[in-house]
């Protein structure tokens, strides 16, 4: 009964084209943001912030990146991990050379490097489609991984071959490095992610986003309607890789604190892909749902047997997680290819017409 748009008449196209045309959605989002920006930092435990919320937000951002490319522009990529790596190493080099520039700016700028890498490896997309393209992104993945270990300059010739995040401050508060508290890091991340999600939403509903979807749905028709395939695909690669790059930089600087090449391996590419599939291809909301689901599921699977007093082997829960995620991927592809986001939408439709389910359409 509460979720009803009856009576909310739009009197201008501007109102109709707003991001959230329905009042209840706007209220809901405001509440979520309030909880995220105020409630969680004040109330949640360090573990919840540091090991649930921060990874969730980092992966959401990476999922947005991949979803732009795969869900919106229709180009399947298995190189997300490597593009995240480019952002992380770029940020590391930047802060080495410019230690005085604010680290948040550097993180945002480091995405530019991964965007460039994305464009480079996206070039074949002009001639190659679908599965073939997925394989060329594997080339990007493995080649970049090799670069991360072979080019010692990237990790400042450290003996360990790993990068370690130095402490950087904003207004005398440490925001990176081990002395930065989870709450501070969380606040930085949620600000960046909120901002970038808003930007993505804006771009996706405008001309550029539409051109990506045109290429995805029917590339030939898109071209015959004046879309330049190269420009559309490469801009999608660039935009998507930018997001992945920033996510990678956030992952290393705001979450783990150090990284070696294994932090960007192909398993991460898959992990983000799973988030996109389960969350829903072509949906921004889906990126958040998918990331939350994939990241939180193992934590729950670990916690539930403890709660009910079962002693499961740590490894067993790991395998169970794999099986469950695998089954869910297949399940969603069969039943609802648009993933959790679509389920959410269906739920809302039901609410909208409740208690008269046959009233609409």
């Amino acid at each position: 009964m509460l979720y009803r748009e009856a009576g909310q008449f739009k009197t201008s196209y501007a109102a109709d084209q707003a991001l959230l045309p329905i009042l209840q959605d706007r209220i809901g989002l405001s509440l979520i943001l309030l909880v995220a920006f105020v409630g969680i930092p004040l109330l949640a435990t360090d573990f919840f912030i540091g090991s649930v919320m921060i990874p969730f937000l980092v992966f959401s951002l990476a999922a947005i990146g991949l979803n732009i490319l795969t869900g919106y522009a229709g180009q399947l990529s298995l190189g997300t991990g490597a593009f995240m790596g480019v952002g992380a190493y770029a940020c590391y080099k930047l802060t080495t050379y410019f230690p005085d520039i604010n680290i948040i700016l550097l993180i945002l700028f480091s995405g530019v490097f991964s965007a460039a890498a994305g464009v480079l490896f996206g070039l074949p997309s002009l001639r190659i489609k679908g599965l073939y393209l997925a394989i060329t992104t594997l080339a990007a993945q493995f080649f970049l991984e090799w670069c991360f270990i072979r080019i010692a300059w990237l990790y400042n010739y450290n003996d360990s071959g790993a990068i370690e995040v130095p402490t950087r401050k904003l207004l005398d508060i440490a925001i990176t490095g081990a002395s930065a508290t989870p709450v501070v890091r969380y606040l930085v991340i949620i600000s960046v992610v909120t901002l970038m999600a808003l930007v993505a939403a804006n771009v996706l509903r405008g001309r550029i986003g539409r051109s990506w979807m045109m290429i995805r749905d029917m590339d030939i028709a898109a071209e015959l309607m004046g879309i330049r395939p190269l420009r559309a695909k490469l801009s999608a690669f660039a935009f998507s890789s930018y997001y992945c790059g920033v996510a990678g930089a956030l992952m290393v600087f705001m979450w783990i604190g150090s990284a070696e090449v294994e932090s960007f391996d192909i398993n991460h590419s898959f992990l983000v892909l799973f988030m996109v599939i389960i969350g829903g291809m072509g949906s921004l909301l889906g990126c958040f749902l998918g990331a939350a689901f994939i990241w939180v599921l193992p934590i729950i699977i670990r916690a539930v047997p403890q709660l009910i007093g079962l002693d499961l082997l740590a490894a067993t829960t790991e395998h169970l997680t794999n099986i469950i995620i695998g089954v869910l991927i297949i399940f969603f592809l069969i039943v609802e290819p648009h993933g959790l986001a679509r389920l959410w939408q269906l739920g809302k439709e039901k609410l909208r017409t409740w208690p008269f389910p046959y009233a609409s359409n």
Binding site: A44, T45, D46, F47, F48, G50, S51, V52, P55, F142, W146, I149, D159, S160, G161, A162, E164, V165, P166, T167, A174, G177, A178, S179, M251, W255, I256, G257, S258, A259, E260, V261, E262, S263, D265, I266, N267, V296, I299, I300, A303, V304, Q306, L307, L313, A314, A315, T317, E318, H319, L343, L346, G347
Partner: protein, 433 residues
């Protein structure tokens, strides 16, 4: 189940997961165990985790814990993945964790900077950052009983003792990751001072089981000796390939992560003669291990798949890790006078560890390992290793303890520690008198 109940249930679970009893250990010693019983390196992770848990459980069963305080061992699966490792750390640190032994260079590197903040020591036993041996710079990190660099120097000493190293060519085959890269600076340094040449053969993590081109390159370079920094499936594959190109296996030395029963089990006869470094005793003939068998394994409290796996190289390594931790707890209890200790107390215990021959005998591990004595400045302790050889079905100890070339290694370790700290203005050091 409808969508809404499903969503509601999921939400409830998430909320519940934030409220998992984070019981501050009041009357127990909480020792987390970051394991990897899954993933590409589970072959090594599993026996290590078994030995680690079994020893601590044995103390519970036999003595009712340490000085009457029960030990809680909680495993958290990392799958050798840094992100999961950090998650495990965050999930367990507030439960009163006394120390972490991540058994992964990647996770260790992530935890080293966190240790001083959270006041929980990191005990990376024979892995991780070599530089952490310098206790002044790394008050919270311990690499007992030897760093990678010390180990490398001991291996080179062994080679030198077996018909000289000057003018020889040493091949170094290593896992192409932080772990494998660690000893290279020392190797390069010593090649100059000891007068040998080095040929390097990196093996990509993804290519562990596909090493034929590396070994073709070995054949091309034809080194006199081979040294391996390998882990997991890389080891048996390398030994097989070495046998294939007829490289003399008694001139092929693995480090202490490349010389376990799991590595050679499948290779069997073909691996006869292969050498490896080690620092923990072989077999189950020690009184302490007999106690483990009697109090834990035979009671069905262990996760080992077979009774004879007790005493294997990596099982004993994991057990030794637990021995050092338990000893550190005892020392911390003595020094503070508290029964239930904190991470900071534990650090003190670790720093003052003293496993002399007599003490090892008291613990039921006579001659299990070399003397281990830590100090404020020395977080490496002993540094000595021995060499073992595969006889086709089992490992045999073939040398006595070989001390590292401390005169060369120590300054390099200090230098590396200095370099690590140099770009970290807020780094917590300590001064040792």
């Amino acid at each position: 189940m409808t969508n809404r109940t499903f969503t509601a249930l999921a939400a409830a679970l998430v909320v519940a997961s934030c409220w998992i009893p984070v019981a501050q250990a009041q009357d127990s010693l909480y020792i987390p165990s970051l394991t990897y019983r899954t993933g590409p390196f589970s072959g090594g992770g599993t026996p290590f985790a078994d030995g680690y848990a079994d020893y601590l459980n044995m103390l519970n069963e036999r003595d009712g814990g340490i000085n009457g305080v029960k030990i809680i061992v909680e495993e958290c699966e990392t799958a050798y993945n840094s992100q999961k490792g950090v998650e495990c750390y965050e999930a367990t640190k507030d439960k009163g964790a006394l120390a972490y032994s991540p058994l992964s260079t990647g996770i260790t590197l992530a935890l080293v900077p966190k240790a001083p903040i959270d006041k929980i020591p990191v005990f990376s036993m024979g892995y991780g950052l070599s530089a952490a041996a310098a206790g002044e710079k790394f008050p919270w990190t311990f690499v007992y009983p030897a760093s990678y660099w010390s180990q490398m120097s001991s291996i080179l000493k062994y080679i030198d003792a077996n018909d000289g190293i000057r003018g020889k060519k040493i091949g170094f085959i290593y896992l192409d990751a932080a772990y494998g890269l660690e000893p290279i600076p020392l190797l390069d340094q010593l090649s100059e001072s000891m007068g040998f040449t080095v040929a390097k053969f990196p093996v990509g993590v993804k290519e562990m089981q596909n090493q034929s081109s590396q070994w073709l390159n070995v054949r091309k370079e034809s080194p006199d000796w081979m040294i391996m920094w390998g882990w997991g499936a890389m080891n048996p594959t390398a030994i097989r390939e070495a046998a294939k190109i007829r490289f003399p296996l008694d001139r092929f030395i693995g480090n202490w992560w490349a010389g376990s029963h799991n590595d050679l089990k499948g290779v069997g006869e073909a691996g006869k003669g292969y050498l490896a470094a080690n620092f923990s005793g072989l077999g189950q003939e020690y009184p302490a291990l007999q106690d483990v068998l009697a109090h834990v394994v035979d009671k069905g409290l262990s996760k080992v798949s077979a009774r004879e796996d007790v005493g294997n190289v990596l099982y004993n390594r994991g057990l030794f890790n637990a021995v050092v931790l338990a000893e550190a707890v005892r020392i911390a209890q003595d020094r503070t006078g508290k029964k239930v200790i904190s991470g900071a107390d534990m650090r003190e215990g670790l720093e003052n560890i003293d496993l002399s021959e007599e003490r090892l005998s008291e613990l039921g591990l006579p001659g299990f390992t070399g003397e281990l004595k830590g100090s404020c400045a020395d977080h490496e302790g002993g540094g000595s290793i021995f060499i073992q050889q595969w006889n086709g079905s089992d490992w045999e100890k073939v040398t006595d303890l070989i001390a590292p070339m401390s005169d060369i290694v120590r300054p390099m370790l200090e230098e590396a520690a200095e370099a690590y700290v140099s770009d970290k203005p807020d780094w917590q050091s300590q001064t040792c008198s």
